[in-house]
């Protein structure tokens, strides 16, 4: 109990420090209060937006788009990465495309997707999937190439046919890399999605909420929206990826915690 309290205090303390600094800047800094609202304004705005259901609706829409798009990109990326890692022709063919496409920010494709697919959910989801696929492909490919030759030999000596080899040796062997790729892909999906929601005039979503607040200089609404984005991102990392890791690669001793 005492321990839990201490560790809670340790987590809260930095935020208190930042809050105090923020408040000091709010009171003494060069910005007018409308542009640099105090902590109390931000918190009360947050509570109000949650209470009247506005924030939850925007957040849920954004999360739904994120998940659908990300799953699309993840499946595509893992499959492409495995094929690249196992077959020389696929590697020769895809590596250059991926290595040029990967550094291009996903957002740069946004106008193209809008031109092609119009506005709304479809281009947003497709773009999120497209952007998320790159890090997944690159990491899966690297992971498959890093699967120890001795595992493959051992499995082959026990008579494993190609499809079993994929499922039972190559995929779990590459999993530490695949997980890293998925994590990077998700972060990228987040970034692209928020930007797309800002730019392509969808009518709901956290990005839209933040961007729309600009019209009326509602800095408090923007900051409340940003806080939600931070919390959702943190929750996905802690509740999904860290758990996934604990149950697989950490449990298997392939990755230190």
């Amino acid at each position: 109990m005492r321990r839990a309290l201490i560790s809670l205090a340790e987590v809260v303390f930095p935020f208190v420090v930042v809050g105090i600094l923020w408040q000091a800047f709010h009171l003494l800094g060069p910005f007018p209060p409308k542009l640099f609202p105090g902590v109390e304004t931000i918190v009360s705005t947050f509570v109000r937006l949650v209470g009247n259901g506005i924030l939850p609706v925007h957040a849920l829409t954004t999360i739904l788009r994120l998940i659908v798009g990300f799953l699309l990109g993840a499946v595509l990326g893992v499959v492409a990465g495995i094929v690249m890692g196992r077959y020389r022709w696929a590697e020769d063919l895809l590596v250059p495309v991926v290595s040029v496409g990967n550094p291009i920010p996903g957002l740069a494709y946004a106008p193209l997707f809008v031109i092609w697919f119009g506005l709304g959910n479809l281009p947003a989801v497709l773009l999120v999937g497209f952007a998320a696929a790159f890090p997944v492909v690159v990491n899966t490919w690297t992971g498959v190439k890093a699967v120890k030759a001795i595992w493959i030999r051992a499995a082959e000596s026990m008579g494993a046919p190609e499809h079993q080899l994929f499922r039972k040796v190559v995929l779990p062997g590459a999993l530490p890399y695949v997980l890293t790729g998925l994590r990077l892909g998700l972060a990228r999906a987040w970034r692209v999605l928020v930007a797309v929601e800002m730019l392509t005039s969808v009518s709901v979503g956290l990005g839209w909420l933040i961007f729309g607040a600009r019209e009326f200089l509602n800095t408090d609404v923007m900051l409340a929206g940003i806080a939600v984005i931070g919390c959702v991102g943190l929750a996905l990392e802690k509740l999904v990826f860290q758990k996934l890791e604990e149950f697989t690669v950490v449990r298997w001793g392939m990755m230190a915690r």
């Binding site: 120890k148 001795i150 595992w151 030999r153 051992a154 499995a155 082959e156 000596s157 026990m158 008579g159 494993a160 046919p161 079993q164 039972k168 040796v169 779990p172 062997g173 999993l175 697989t248 690669v249 449990r251 298997w252 001793g253 392939m254």
Partner: protein, 249 residues
């Protein structure tokens, strides 16, 4: 008919300066339930030889016959234990590692578990069935690897210096255990090592290889009863004989 026979195996590696002969005209046979050790200095082609028998490498000339039939490629009929501890699949528990070969054969789950546990018991690891490889010591991991290579009942067990990376005390313990396992299962074993004392302790017969290219220098039969006393005059005589073949021309 021999159980396993190597007929004038020649193996050449392709290098930048043309082919390099690793094995030349190598022939010997192994009888059922025989424990055969192949001894030679590092780089004499021992591992190449084992990889040829395993089917990972295709001999440039010659053939490997198992039960009179030539073997091509990999198959269920040969089990392998490597030197590297990392050969176990880290994402599977000890028991699931041992089950792998049976899974590939399509053996139903209940039977798989039973067989796996039986072989883990044989290597005295039944208590660690649910442990993951990284939770086991090096010696224990090698025991799991032995159980795994035996569990799907291959006709021959191939071992590539499986204890070379272990400390001396563990190695001795493992050698005793291996002899027990071999007597229990009556498996045909080809065991590759550079350690002469180990070979004399384990083998029914020792094939001595000389390097560059690898050829059979001599074959020494070890008739001593088991368990063998490593300090007996007889043991040391055998050891001297094998070392003589290795060193001399």
């Amino acid at each position: 008919m021999h159980h396993l026979e190597l007929r004038s195996i020649t193996f050449e590696y392709a290098t930048a300066d043309g082919p390099l002969t690793a094995l030349r005209e190598l022939s010997f046979a192994v009888e059922p339930s025989e424990f055969l050790c192949v001894v030679g200095q590092s780089g004499c082609g021992k591992t190449t030889l084992l990889n040829v028998v395993a089917g990972f490498l295709k001999p440039t000339r010659g053939a490997v016959l198992l039960g009179g039939k030539p073997v091509t490629g990999k198959g269920f009929d040969r089990g392998i234990v490597f030197q590297d501890f990392a050969q176990l699949f880290p994402w599977r528990t000890a028991q699931r590692n041992v089950e792998f070969g049976l899974e590939m054969k399509g053996v139903p789950r209940a039977e798989r578990e039973e067989v796996a546990l039986r072989f883990l018991r044989l290597v005295k690891l039944e208590k660690f069935a649910r442990s993951y490889p990284h939770e086991l010591s090096g010696g224990m991991q090698q025991r799991v690897a032995i159980a795994r290579a035996l569990a799907y009942n291959p006709a021959v067990l191939l071992m590539d210096e499986p204890f070379a990376a272990l400390d001396a005390l563990t190695r001795e313990e493992m050698q005793r255990l291996l002899v027990d396992v071999w007597r229990e299962t009556k498996k045909t074993v080809i065991y590759v090592t550079h350690n002469v004392a180990e070979a004399v302790y384990l083998a029914d017969r020792i094939v001595v290889l000389t390097p560059h290219p690898g050829t059979v220098k001599a074959q020494v039969r070890i008739a001593m009863p088991r368990p063998r006393d490593t300090l007996s005059v007889e043991f040391l005589e055998c050891q001297r004989e094998v070392v003589g073949h290795l060193g001399g021309r």
